[in-house]
């Protein structure tokens, strides 16, 4: 995300808008990527991102192939390079990579000529998630200039947070991270954010409340004493949701832990746009695939990766 300036992001979102229109047609398909082959290389379990990319590729008439890798194949001994060179040898145009280690897509991009799209790498980045969140925000706000957005919960282990801090700040928003110190990165030097440990103090000022999935395994690391305590201190409870101003949005990248970071009932409120995020994900990924594999608009410096 850091490679995209505000103009780049706006162009991607404009293109997304035209692809969103495709999704509303009775036959939601265009021939934009006919003849192109895209491989999925998912080293980490993913349901929604994977399906979202797959739907996007099909709507663009691309051929897709799935290279199924369990996370254990790393331990079985094949190097990442051997795997991607094998896929590249089959003659593909794009590789969509999801990996549990930060930077894996960057390494892949150095080894193959195909376009590489980061579908989430470790705790590092998840750029298409950020783009779809920005697109969803744009449907509700004229712009994000001066809007106050809180990103709440497990920031430390979140690639979504790292992408959205950059994305939201680039679009002019004021970003506050709300989390206990144990769920913040070790250093926030240079981050365009403020930090708050008291959710109640800022809740009324927010234009958007972006909740992160609390990774339950973190609880086993004892980074928070109990999930109940986390919910009480940092969850979007009914009481907190009631204090949100009119027009304030609630977003969540999914999958949700209802009752942990978000009260079950709150996720159903009209200002919770969580399913819109999912729908928009398809259109955003159509735009990204098209930009990298299609006509090749001169929009990003490095055309081979949106990372």
């Amino acid at each position: 995300m850091a490679d995209l300036d505000r103009g780049d992001i706006e162009q991607i979102l404009n293109l997304t808008e035209s692809f969103a229109e495709v999704g509303e047609r009775s036959i939601p398909k265009v021939p934009a990527l006919r003849g192109k082959t895209i491989a999925w290389l998912f080293y980490e379990d993913s349901t929604r991102t994977r399906l979202s990319f797959e739907t996007a590729a099909k709507r663009l008439s691309a051929d897709t192939m799935n290279f199924s890798v369990s996370s254990s194949s790393v331990k079985k001994g094949e190097s990442l390079r051997d795997t991607v060179e094998t896929i590249a040898a089959m003659g593909i145009d794009g590789i969509v990579v999801r990996h549990s280690a930060a930077g894996a897509p960057h390494r892949v991009a150095n080894w193959v000529d195909a376009s590489v799209i980061n579908a989430g790498d470790g705790w590092h980045q998840h750029p298409t998630q950020s783009l779809l969140d920005l697109y969803t925000a744009r449907e509700h706000f004229d712009d994000l200039d001066g809007k106050h957005i809180a990103i709440v919960g497990d920031i430390r282990h979140s690639r979504v947070a790292r992408s959205n801090v950059v994305g939201f700040a680039t679009m002019g928003a004021k970003v506050t991270l709300v989390a206990p110190p144990t769920l913040l990165p070790a250093s926030l030097e240079g981050w365009p954010v403020e930090v708050c440990h008291n959710f109640d103090e800022i809740i009324e000022d927010l234009d958007m409340c972006y909740l992160l999935r609390m990774q339950l395994e973190r609880q086993r690391d004892s980074l928070v004493p109990t999930l109940r305590e986390f919910h009480n201190e940092f969850g979007l409870t009914v009481a907190r949701a009631d204090r949100l101003g009119p027009g304030a949005l609630i977003m969540h990248p999914g999958p949700m832990n209802r009752g942990v970071e978000i009260a079950g009932e709150v996720a159903e409120r009209p200002n919770a746009v969580i399913t819109q995020q999912v729908s928009n994900g398809v259109a955003v990924r159509m735009a990204v695939l098209f930009l990298l594999l299609g006509s090749g608009l001169d929009i990003v410096d490095d055309q081979r990766a949106v990372a």
């Binding site: 051997d82 390494r107 705790w123 990165p185 926030l188 240079g190």
Partner: protein, 431 residues
């Protein structure tokens, strides 16, 4: 046949002087003087002749991972780097935790291009639980004990190792054992793949805090105070570590320390490339840590430059940063990086690479000088002012995991002489 090095500047612990060096056919320095003649003469005018370098920290990878490196290729690289002796780390497969494996490494090193001293593990299989047979190992000539790659985590085991070592001084021909530690508190650092700080936070990589190193150094200093043992701290990388070692030395504790070229040359900012060549353990740290390590080398807090030469095959390194094994090559670039990066006078750099580590390794009877009649001719001839470009292709190592390919540096090893044999001549290995 006698060999005479003519017209060079001899530099050892007794200072610089213009002398020829005559080496007899036993590989021993026969005389120093002017206008000496020999059967073979090597003109070293304008160059510095010094005692050969001694590396306290080399991973030879043999036995166990000969695809990454062998004793033959590693010692050739060592000779090219000016080393006449290296201390082999015990984290091979099997681990060096018994006299049998010590002997195996020695046998494999027969005829190698530098002497291989063997360090043994502190604990059986480096598992941190049961002490290796230290007395037996000392009787077999082992000087340094380390579980390198890991630190000894358990306080009681470490205390026992240090305490036990103090009773073994009468066994070693070379002054008794020294327990050395790779300081890393795993309860804090486990899972980490780079220095914990601003860069790890941005890059989303699990961090290893400087405190994970510092806390173990703090504990071990306390245990040295308790037991009166001698101790050596390996690859010190954090500013806090340097400060604690300095204070402990001032308090009179019998400790020494080493630092690697990469910890005084590179920072964690390099990890932003996600190139796994920069994954090392301990990790590359901040500018402030690099400055502290340099200062420690300059003021004597750190006694030796040690390479932590750690070869890995391409297929081991061709993974995501955090999935690749830690370690980089070091033998063939150490001298040039020291000259280029440290800004120290040449005699100081030679002390850090030669006589100080030779003393720690227990090799001072034959390595590290002084250069005098009757001593084995283990020498290096360097040009401190020569500028050159490091080339991965030109290296002897079986592996290529160096981040310095293409880097312009100053200071070059021209010749290396092992027991009177010219093993490197004009930067080329002779066998």
């Amino acid at each position: 046949m006698s060999l005479v090095l003519t017209n060079g500047t001899v530099v050892d612990q007794s200072g610089p002087r213009q002398l020829d060096i005559e080496i007899n056919d036993q590989g021993v320095v026969a005389s120093l003087g002017t206008g000496l003649r020999g059967d073979v003469e090597l003109d070293v005018a304008g160059l510095v002749v010094a005692p050969g370098f001694v590396d306290l920290h080399t991973h030879l990878r043999e036995p166990g991972n000969e695809e990454a490196e062998t004793i033959e290729t590693a010692t050739r690289g060592a000779a090219l780097g000016g080393f006449t002796a290296v201390v082999a780390m015990p984290n091979t497969t099997p681990a060096v935790d018994s006299p049998a494996v010590v002997q195996q490494v020695r046998d494999l090193a027969r005829g190698a291009l530098c002497e291989v001293a063997v360090a043994a593990a502190i604990t059986v299989d480096r598992a941190g639980q049961t002490l290796a047979p230290m007395a037996e190992l000392v009787r077999h000539g082992v000087r340094l004990f380390t579980d390198d790659g890991r630190g000894v985590q358990d306080d009681k085991v470490m205390r026992t190792a240090l305490e036990y070592s103090t009773g073994l001084n009468h066994l070693g021909a070379n002054g008794g054992p020294i327990v050395a530690q790779h300081c890393d508190l795993e309860s804090l650092s486990a899972g980490g793949v780079m220095h914990e700080g601003a860069w790890s936070s941005v890059l989303g990589m699990p961090g290893q805090s400087a405190e994970a190193e510092e806390l173990m150094i703090m504990r071990d200093i306390a245990l040295v105070r308790l037991t009166g043992a001698r101790m050596h701290f390996q690859h010190v990388s954090a500013a806090g570590s340097v400060a604690m070692i300095s204070a402990a030395k001032e308090a009179g504790l019998d400790i020494t320390a080493e630092a690697t070229p990469h910890h005084f040359t590179l920072t964690d900012a390099e990890c932003a490339s996600f190139d796994s060549v920069y994954r090392v353990h301990p990790p590359l740290r901040t500018d402030a840590d690099v400055a502290a390590v340099k200062q420690g080398l300059a003021d004597g807090t750190i006694d030796a430059i040690a390479t932590d030469h750690a070869p890995h095959t391409n297929h081991e390194k061709d993974r995501a940063f955090g999935d690749a094994p830690p370690g980089m090559l070091g033998l063939e670039t150490a001298f040039a990086l020291a000259v280029t990066e440290l800004g120290l006078p040449i005699d100081k750099i030679l002390a850090l690479l030669s006589w100080q580590p030779a003393a720690i390794a227990g090799l001072a009877d034959r390595h590290g000088g002084p250069i005098a009649a009757g001593r084995p001719a283990n020498l290096v001839v360097v040009d401190p002012g020569e500028s050159w470009t490091i080339s991965r292709q030109a290296m002897a190592s079986r592996s290529t995991n160096t981040p310095y390919d293409g880097r312009s540096v100053t200071g070059r090893v021209r010749h290396t002489i092992l027991n009177g044999e010219i093993v490197v001549r004009d930067t080329l290995a002779q066998r």
